[in-house]
Amino acid sequence: MISLSSYAFVSMMLFSIGVIGVIARKNIFVIYMSIELMLNGITLFLVTFARYHFNLDAQVMTVLIIAIAAAEAAIFLSVIILLFRSKKSLDTDVFTTLTQGEKS
């Protein structure tokens, strides 16, 4: 029997990897994938605790999150395509139109 803390550890690892990916990487695709990773880390958490407490509420929520994540992926990918068309680049550091301080 795998303990609850192991599940929690895995989901936290997933979330942390996602966070690091968002912060450290420049490529928008990788950032997007990292966001998905964070989302999945959290859903894993939910499912784990749903099992642990024998409660279906969180399971339902998870299914819903997966469905929404699929829809979100469609929008995100199209946004990425548009971004690429405008600047011919996927480097986030290029997209600084809304800056307030000194333009770098």
Partner: protein, 628 residues
């Protein structure tokens, strides 16, 4: 006795002012309204006021009652209650009698004078408002209501002096009148407040003040008496606040007549008489008032001998006559002072109207020598002007003699020989400069006399009525030694703290002396000016013709100094200190903001990292705080 009629004396001209103003707006915005409507409203409402006053006067005479009317409680704060109430006692009814009557005649005169003017309706609106303000002042039951009228009169004089506001000089004259009056008003206001604290009564009506005046300490009473008199100095054009009066001649002549005869300048004398209970308690202030009056009288008379503007001569003569009135009220002879106000209203209104008629006939020429050079045929104005000149000079049996002589006799009886001497000398000067004016305008040989006779009925009718008044008004207070009945003295007897009682021989000698002085003045004027060569006018140089350089002095001391102070405050205090401080704080915020704004660099990764740090801090905080 409570009567609903009293307030209508004020409301009638006030309604006239509102109606005229409304019609005038209609007149300029929509459709022309004929001058007739304005004149009917403008002259009708003062007539109504006069008739009501006359009715109340007759009733009062018959039954000896005092009228009051309490409309509503106007201000009620803590212990202080101020009623919107009006008082028609002997003094107020006496005053409003001739204010409404002379005011009415001047309104009629104004129809002729202002004929064809674009702003005819506006003029009558202001005129009625002026009269209404004066009546508020006269009929007020407490100093606060009196102050409304006091200020109203000031505003209207400003509006009317600057009536032809297209001309910058008129506007400056209007401002000067207003500002000089403000100085006085400030004194008046402080005086009322001091009086309120001194007396400590919970209502400010004249009767309560009078009843509680013994509670007050004499120092405070002296202070408030002095401050109130500062107000009177401003309104009644006494030294040192007289400077506005000659400049007030910038307005159309009916205004000068109204200011000088019926309203405005008499307000100061009236106010002192109204506070007679205060001034009779503090004798030094009374003497101070008398001396200010005497010096103003002398000072104005000296200046008047060298002036060349017909209206300015009359203006200085008003100031001089007001000086006489203050001598009388200062010494406690209130009825004599008010009697002089009364007779003065007749002959001074007449003189101004006559001057206005001459000015109109000669197309707005005011220099007496130029008027003489183009002399016009003005028989009625000539006659009434002569009556006025004789009356003001103090030749019996014209009205001016009786009132002026009573004042001089009062000064003599009180042992104030200096006041008496100044008064006598001023009487001499008065006769001299008034006849100088008369001889130059009407008598001195001239080459061309226009044969065209210029007279308008609305101009001559009031003149004739007033000339009757100027001749006969003196008999209302016919001295007892001629077997007469001093009706005015009897009417106002309760005000007087002093009455004239001297041996008959002294009185005869004094009268003879004042007649001799007046005749001497006329004789000197005759010698000098009856054959005067009007084509060689007197020089306008010299200290007297330049009014002792008082205007220049005031300009240097007060106007330039306050200008310098304003510049200093503007350029140094405001721009350097206050602006400097505020702008420094502001600039600091801006530069700090700029520094903070560099965080917002639109770098997604940076934002995400920042969020992470922030959230981590929150979690750590919660972990420690909640002990999770």
């Amino acid at each position: 006795m409570n009567t609903p009629l009293l307030v209508w004396i004020i409301l009638a001209p006030l309604l006239g002012a509102i109606l005229n103003a409304g019609f005038y707006f209609y007149h300029i915005k929509k459709q022309k309204i004929s001058d007739k409507i304005f004149s009917i409203i403008g002259t009708g409402t003062p007539l109504i006021a006069f008739l009501i006053t006359l009715y109340l006067f007759l009733q009062m005479k018959e039954e000896g009652i005092i009228f009051t009317q309490n409309l509503f409680t106007w201000i009620s704060i803590g212990d202080l209650t101020i009623q919107m109430s009006f008082l028609g006692d002997n003094l107020a009814i006496f005053m409003s009698m001739f204010v409404t009557f002379v005011g009415w005649l001047i309104h009629i005169y104004a129809i002729g004078y202002m004929k064809g003017d674009d702003a005819f309706g506006k003029f009558f609106a202001y005129f009625n408002l002026f009269l209404a303000s004066m009546l508020i002042l006269v009929l007020a039951d407490n100093p606060v209501i009196l102050f409304i009228g006091w200020e109203g009169v000031g505003v209207c004089s400003y509006l009317l002096i600057a009536f032809y506001y297209g001309d910058k000089e008129n506007v400056i004259a209007g401002n000067k009148a207003f500002i000089a009056n403000r100085v006085g008003d400030f004194g008046f206001l402080l005086g009322v407040v001091t009086l309120f604290f001194a007396v400590g009564a919970d209502s400010l009506s004249f009767s309560t003040i009078e009843a509680n005046i013994s509670n007050a300490s004499s120092e405070l009473l002296i202070l408030s008496g002095f401050l109130l008199f500062v107000g009177a100095m401003g309104k009644s054009a006494q030294i040192p606040l007289y400077v506005w009066l000659p400049d007030a001649m910038a307005g159309p002549t009916p205004i000068s007549a109204l200011i000088h005869a019926a309203t405005m300048v008499t307000a100061g004398v009236y106010m002192v008489a109204r506070f007679h209970f205060l001034y009779s308690g503090i004798e030094n202030i009374g003497l101070f008032i008398a001396y200010i009056g005497a010096f103003s009288a002398l000072f104005a008379a000296i200046i008047a001998t060298k002036q060349q503007d017909i209206k300015k001569i009359l203006a200085y003569s008003t100031m001089s006559q007001l000086g006489y009135m203050f001598i009388a009220v200062g010494l406690g002879f209130y009825s004599s002072g008010l009697f002089h106000v009364f007779t003065h209203a007749f002959f001074k209104a007449m003189l101004f109207m006559g001057a206005g008629g001459i000015i109109i006939a000669l197309h707005h020429e005011q220099n007496i020598f130029k008027i003489a050079q183009h002399r016009a045929q003005l028989p009625i104005i000539h006659f009434t002007f002569l009556v006025g000149v004789i009356a003001i000079s103090g030749i019996p049996p014209f009205s001016g003699f009786f009132s002026k002589d009573a004042i001089l006799a009062a000064a003599f009886q009180e042992g104030e020989y200096l006041l008496w001497g100044i008064g006598m000398f001023t009487a001499f000067l008065t006769a001299f400069y008034m006849f100088r004016l008369y001889f130059i305008i009407f008598v001195a040989p001239t080459k061309n006399v226009s044969q065209h006779i210029y007279t308008s009925k609305t101009i001559t009718f009031p003149l004739l009525v007033l000339s009757i008044g100027a001749i006969t008004a003196g008999f209302l207070n016919y001295p007892a030694i001629f077997g007469g009945e001093t009706m005015v003295d009897a009417w106002l007897v309760q005000l007087n703290s002093n009455v004239i009682h001297m041996s008959h021989s002294t009185e005869y000698i004094l009268m003879a002396a004042s007649i001799i002085v007046a005749v001497a003045g006329i004789f000197v004027a005759y010698k000098k000016y009856a054959k005067f060569d009007i084509y060689k006018p007197e020089s306008e140089k010299g200290i007297i013709a330049n009014k002792f350089f008082v205007d220049e002095f005031y300009d240097k001391i007060f106007v330039q100094a306050s200008k310098k102070l304003s510049t200093f405050i503007d350029k140094v205090v405001d721009e350097k200190i206050i602006d400097g401080f505020i702008m420094t704080v502001c600039n600091e915020f801006v530069s700090f903001g700029k520094k903070v704004a560099t965080i917002q660099n639109a770098n997604v990764r940076f934002y995400a990292g920042f969020m992470l740090v922030g959230m981590s801090c929150i979690f750590v905080y919660l972990y420690i705080l909640l002990g999770l």
